[in-house]
Structures are given as structure tokens and as C-alpha cells.
């Protein structure tokens, strides 16, 4: 079929309208990039690129801005949440594909995917009023106690357990990204040809050996794509952690300290930025976030497409 039909005028009109509608996606992406660069040009001009990305200053009074504390917070919470989420998510995928009785597969899959449907503001509410007290009263003192005296690990849990800190935020983020990794891993696991699995069973492999040596190696591209996708989601999550992170512009070594991520800084400060350079720096932060998450998501998509091509062969 020709991309634009020329035979019938109405058909031509319809094809042009649909083409415009689908190009809107490209227009949005280019538009966002262009507008963010334009709005942050004042800040880019004043602080440059390298200096902005490596400066820990965030001082609206002295009008000195740098992104490092925000980037640090974003990367640290994302990294921690991945560490917590990946084993659970892969365990869930293994349970659904290999262990669960058939009648439970659907319901458990849906239940896990419902975790992704809960709006992030609800995670935020729950995190602030329910999880945070639990963390500060039980989990964090416990972690402090068992790590006390262990060199290096001890540093991670220094300070008063307040519940408003990096650890709590990472736990909430980890719950939010479990469904993405879990459902993509499940789908990839399911694509392992049963002939290969049955051959392994036939030579006496246990179920775990089949999973470890056959299923996971076979589906690693898809699983990896799912993990990178979760990473992209975690980078941009805002409302779930806006309440429990504290918005503290300092580089901290303790997980029990408040911190700031790019998203939380934007949510808290954007509407009240009163000076041009302040607002421009916030747009600059948004630009950094957009580029970071776009690249991450593109990498995820690359691996998922590669996996798709491999399995469809």
C-alpha cells in the first residue's frame, strides 16, 4: 500500500490526518528537547555543562546551582531499588512459570501487575504515613544494630533513623518496579522451547538446574531488557518518593539521611522558583533527567527488540 493514497481525495485526506497524528509523537520528543534546551539556556550559559553536572551547589539565595546532589540522589535511590527489586521480581517470574499450579498463574500475574497500576501518589501517601514509621521504628534500628561494628557497612546506616530517607524511598521505588521486571521476565521465561527444557529433565536435571542452566541463559536478553526498563522507570518516578526523601541537597554516605532526586527537586521547587536563573536551572535539571531516562529507555527497548527477534526465529 502506498503511504499516501492518491487515487481518492477523501482517502488522501484521511491518510494525511493519520500521518500527522502519528508524527505527533516525534514532534513531542523533539519539542520537549528543544523547549527544555531553550528554557535552560540561561543556566547553561552561566554554569556550563561539565560544571553544572559536577557541582554540588544548590543555593537559590546565592544563585549558584549544580546538579550533582540531585543526580547522586537519583542514581543512588534507583540503584538501591534495583538491588532490592531484581531478586524478588525474578523469583516471582520463576514462581509463576515453573512452580505455581496452573489455576494460580493468571491471578498471581494480575496481582503483580496491579502493583504497577496503583498511582504513584498512593505509594507516596502509604510511604509517608505507614511505611515510614515502620522503617524508623523497626527496620532501621534493626539494620543499625546488626551492622554495628562492621567496617564500611556501618557507615551506610549512620545517623538517626527518621524514616524520611534514602532507604525508605528506595524500598518504595523497588515495590513500584517489581511488576515491570517480573512480567517481562515471566514472558521471556515462557518463550524457552519446552523441547530444550524436557531434554534437560530427561538427563536428570532438577527443576532448579533447568531454570538456572537452561531457562535463564535462554531468556537473559529479555530479562536484562526488563531490568533496564525498570531502571528507566525508577529514574523518573516523582510522587512516590516526594514525601519520604526529604529534599536535602547534600551528598550523604548514610542511607538514613534525607536526599534529593531530580524529580523531587522539580516537584518541590518548580512552582516557587522566583528568579529567572533559578527556574532556568530547574529546566536544566529536567533536561538532564529527560536525556538520562530517554537513553536508558532506548537501551532497554534495544535489548527487548533484540530478544524479540531472537525468540521469533
Amino acid at each position: 500500500m502506498a503511504i499516501l493514497s492518491k487515487k481518492n481525495p477523501i482517502d488522501l485526506l484521511f491518510s494525511v490526518i493519520t500521518a500527522i497524528a502519528s508524527f505527533s509523537v516525534i514532534i513531542f520528543i523533539i519539542g520537549i528537547l528543544f523547549v527544555l534546551i531553550k528554557e535552560s539556556s540561561l543556566s547553561i550559559g552561566k554554569f556550563g555543562i561539565i560544571k553544572f553536572l559536577t557541582s554540588t551547589d544548590w543555593d537559590p539565595v546565592k544563585e549558584s546551582f549544580g546538579a550533582l546532589t540531585n543526580i547522586y540522589g537519583t542514581l543512588l535511590t534507583t540503584f538501591l531499588s534495583l538491588i532490592i527489586a531484581i531478586p524478588v521480581a525474578i523469583g516471582i517470574a520463576i514462581f509463576i512459570t515453573e512452580i505455581s499450579p496452573n489455576f494460580l498463574k493468571g491471578p498471581i500475574g494480575i496481582a503483580i501487575e496491579l502493583l504497577a497500576a496503583i498511582p504513584s501518589i498512593i505509594y507516596g501517601m502509604w510511604g509517608l504515613f505507614t511505611l515510614s514509621p515502620v522503617m524508623s521504628n523497626h527496620v532501621e534500628p534493626f539494620l543499625k544494630k546488626i551492622t554495628a561494628g562492621i567496617p564500611f557497612v556501618e557507615i551506610l546506616f549512620r545517623g538517626t533513623p527518621m524514616g524520611i530517607d534514602i532507604l525508605t524511598a528506595s524500598v518504595i521505588l523497588s515495590i513500584m518496579i517489581i511488576p515491570f521486571t517480573a512480567s517481562i521476565s515471566r514472558d521471556s521465561f515462557n518463550l524457552t522451547p519446552s523441547v530444550v527444557k524436557e531434554s534437560a529433565y530427561a538427563i536428570g536435571a532438577t527443576k532448579w538446574e533447568v531454570i538456572k542452566n537452561i531457562v535463564i541463559p535462554y531468556s537473559k536478553l529479555g530479562v536484562f531488557g526488563g531490568i533496564v526498563l525498570s531502571l528507566g522507570r525508577a529514574l523518573g518516578e516523582t510522587m512516590a518518593i516526594a514525601f519520604v526523601l526529604g529534599n536535602n541537597h547534600r551528598i550523604t554516605t548514610s542511607l538514613l539521611d534525607a536526599a534529593a532526586t531530580i524529580t523531587v527537586t522539580l516537584a518541590n521547587e518548580f512552582a516557587e522558583a522566583d528568579k529567572d536563573i533559578y527556574l532556568s536551572s530547574l529546566f536544566y535539571l529536567a533536561l538532564v533527567l529527560f536525556v538520562m531516562s530517554f537513553i536508558t529507555l532506548a537501551i532497554a527497548k534495544f535489548f527487548l527488540l533484540k530478544a524479540e527477534r531472537k525468540y521469533s526465529r
Binding site: 500500500m1 499516501l4 487515487k7 481518492n8 482517502d11 491518510s15 493519520t18 497524528a21 502519528s22 508524527f23 505527533s24 509523537v25 516525534i26 513531542f28 519539542g31 520537549i32 523547549v35 527544555l36 531553550k38 528554557e39 531478586p87 521480581a89 523469583g91 514462581f95 515453573e98 505455581s100 498471581i108 494480575i110 503483580i112 496491579l114 502493583l115 497500576a117 496503583i118 498511582p119 501518589i121 498512593i122 505509594y123 501517601m125 509517608l128 505507614t130 515495590i175 517489581i178 532438577t206 527443576k207 532448579w208 538446574e209 531454570i211 522507570r233 523518573g236 516523582t238 522539580l266 518548580f270 512552582a271 529546566f283 529536567a286 533527567l289 529527560f290 531516562s293 529507555l297 532506548a298
Partner: protein, 280 residues
């Protein structure tokens, strides 16, 4: 321990850990939903739906303005986002089927689906709110529609691709032009799937807060004027949860409960339609 016993033990441990992981996942779901339910039900009352907020610190009042505002923003976002998304998906699956451009737009849409929504908020702030000079309901609705378009576009594309090509050929053979084939044959065949995609995309944007913070902002008074700042449930939850009053917290929980029920209902409905139509 013999080698066999070792292998078996390892297997049992790994399987138990996987089962534990599934239980952890379910535990979080039950914990969060149960918590919202318990706190929310306690705070539900009629006043919440029929009254506007009382002055800060005064007991009572409701969130009528936020319910109406949320409804309006979501409806207008749907009215903008759905036609663009459906038409865009039509182009990818029909006129540009198999072409490189269709593939590129498809991949970019998948990326757009996961782009941080707060970035879209800042984008709309720069091109609309700043230019007009004040926050407005329209800005919020447009921000949400930008999030919605790639979702609807991708599901429409997938659903149209599922319609057998021979069905189109049968219509072509009768001399129908392509647009008639699409509207009268292809859309009809894929209607349930497209509708499901729309339901899921509404569920996706109805709980968004970040893109509304600097677009529709908030309004403590009842307003249906889309040209001015308008209240929404999600932004109200954000404001009330951060606030110092217990009454505010209770109302935020009630609002959370309502929004969670609405979204989970849409999500489950969408899933069941897919199951009923395409697998059963």
C-alpha cells in the same frame, strides 16, 4: 551429603526462595491496598462529595471541587488524546505498515510511554502556562493527553495488526477505498481491543500527579473554568498529605481510596475484556 542430596537441597532452597518472592509481591499489594482501604473507609462520608473545602484548619468540608476538576481534566485529556492516538496507530498499522517510519514511530512511542511525567509537566509549563501567564485546566488536560497518546497509539497499532489482511482484501475487491475499509471493516474488527487500550490509558493518566503540579495547579474553590487553575484529586492529595491537619490527612486518604478503586476497576475491566475477547 552426597552429590545428589546436595543438588536436591539446592533445588528445594531455590524453589522456596522463589515462592517467598511471590509471597513478598502479594504481601506488598495486600499491605498497600489494605492500608488505603482501612484509612479511606474511615474517612468516607457524604460531605466529602457534596461540599467544597473548608478554610485551612477548620474541620469538615469536602472535596467536591477536586472530584469535578479531576473528572474534567481526565475527560478533556481523553477527548484530545484518544483521537490522536487512534489515528496515529491507524497510520502505523495501515498506510505505513511495514515501512521504516512506522517502526521508528512505534519504538519512539514505547519510549515516550515511560518518559518521566514530570518532564512533560515542565514542558507544558514552558509552552502554555508561561505564555498565557497563569495555570489552567487546559494545560493539565493537554499534559495528560501527551502521556496518553503513545499508549493509545501503540495499542491501536497492535490491535489493527491483529485484524486479518484477507478481510481488507475482501473489501478492496468490492471496490471500497482504503479509508472506507479502515473505518467500516478494520475498526469494527478491532473495536474491543482499541476500547480496552483506551480504558487502560485512562487508568494510566487518572492517577498522574506530577504533570498537573505546574499545569492545572490547584484551586481551593469550586471551579469548572478550564481557563483557570483547577483542582484535581491527585494534587489535592499531595497538598493535604504534606499539610499539618489530621482532617486533611483523613480526606487525602478518602480521596486516595476513591482514585485507587476507580483505577483498579478500569485496569481489571480492561484485562478481563482482553481475556474474554482474545484468549477465551
Amino acid at each position: 551429603m552426597t552429590r545428589e542430596q546436595l543438588r536436591k537441597t539446592e533445588g528445594v532452597i531455590a524453589m522456596s526462595l522463589s515462592t517467598l518472592a511471590a509471597l513478598i509481591g502479594l504481601f506488598w499489594l495486600v499491605f498497600i491496598l489494605g492500608d488505603v482501604l482501612v484509612h479511606g473507609i474511615k474517612a468516607l462520608n457524604l460531605s466529602l462529595f457534596i461540599n467544597d473545602p473548608a478554610p485551612a484548619g477548620v474541620e469538615g468540608g469536602g472535596l467536591r471541587n477536586a472530584f469535578i476538576g479531576q473528572l474534567m481534566i481526565t475527560i478533556f485529556a481523553t477527548l484530545i488524546g484518544v483521537p490522536v492516538g487512534v489515528l496515529g496507530g491507524t497510520f502505523l498499522a495501515e498506510y505505513a505498515r511495514g515501512r521504516k517510519i512506522a517502526r521508528i514511530i512505534s519504538v519512539l512511542s514505547d519510549i515516550m510511554v515511560s518518559v518521566p511525567s514530570i518532564v512533560i509537566g515542565t514542558f507544558i509549563y514552558a509552552i502554555l502556562v508561561r505564555q498565557i501567564g497563569h495555570f489552567s485546566g487546559w494545560a493539565g488536560a493537554i499534559a495528560l493527553s501527551i502521556i496518553m497518546i503513545p499508549v493509545v497509539l501503540r495499542t491501536t497499532e497492535d490491535m489493527l495488526t491483529l485484524v486479518p489482511w484477507t478481510l481488507r482484501e475482501a473489501a478492496f475487491a468490492l471496490g471500497a477505498p482504503y479509508y472506507k475499509v479502515i473505518i467500516q471493516i478494520v475498526y469494527r474488527g478491532a473495536a474491543t481491543g482499541i476500547l480496552t487500550g483506551i480504558l487502560l490509558s485512562i487508568a494510566r493518566v487518572a492517577g498522574e500527579t506530577a504533570p498537573l503540579l505546574f499545569t492545572s495547579f490547584n484551586n481551593s474553590f469550586f471551579s469548572t473554568n478550564m481557563n483557570g487553575p483547577i483542582s484535581s484529586l491527585t494534587v489535592t492529595i499531595f497538598q493535604y498529605a504534606m499539610g499539618p491537619y489530621d482532617d486533611w490527612h483523613a480526606q487525602a486518604w478518602a480521596a486516595s481510596l476513591m482514585i485507587t478503586i476507580f483505577i483498579l476497576f478500569l485496569t481489571l475491566l480492561g484485562r478481563f475484556i482482553i481475556k474474554w475477547r482474545y484468549k477465551g
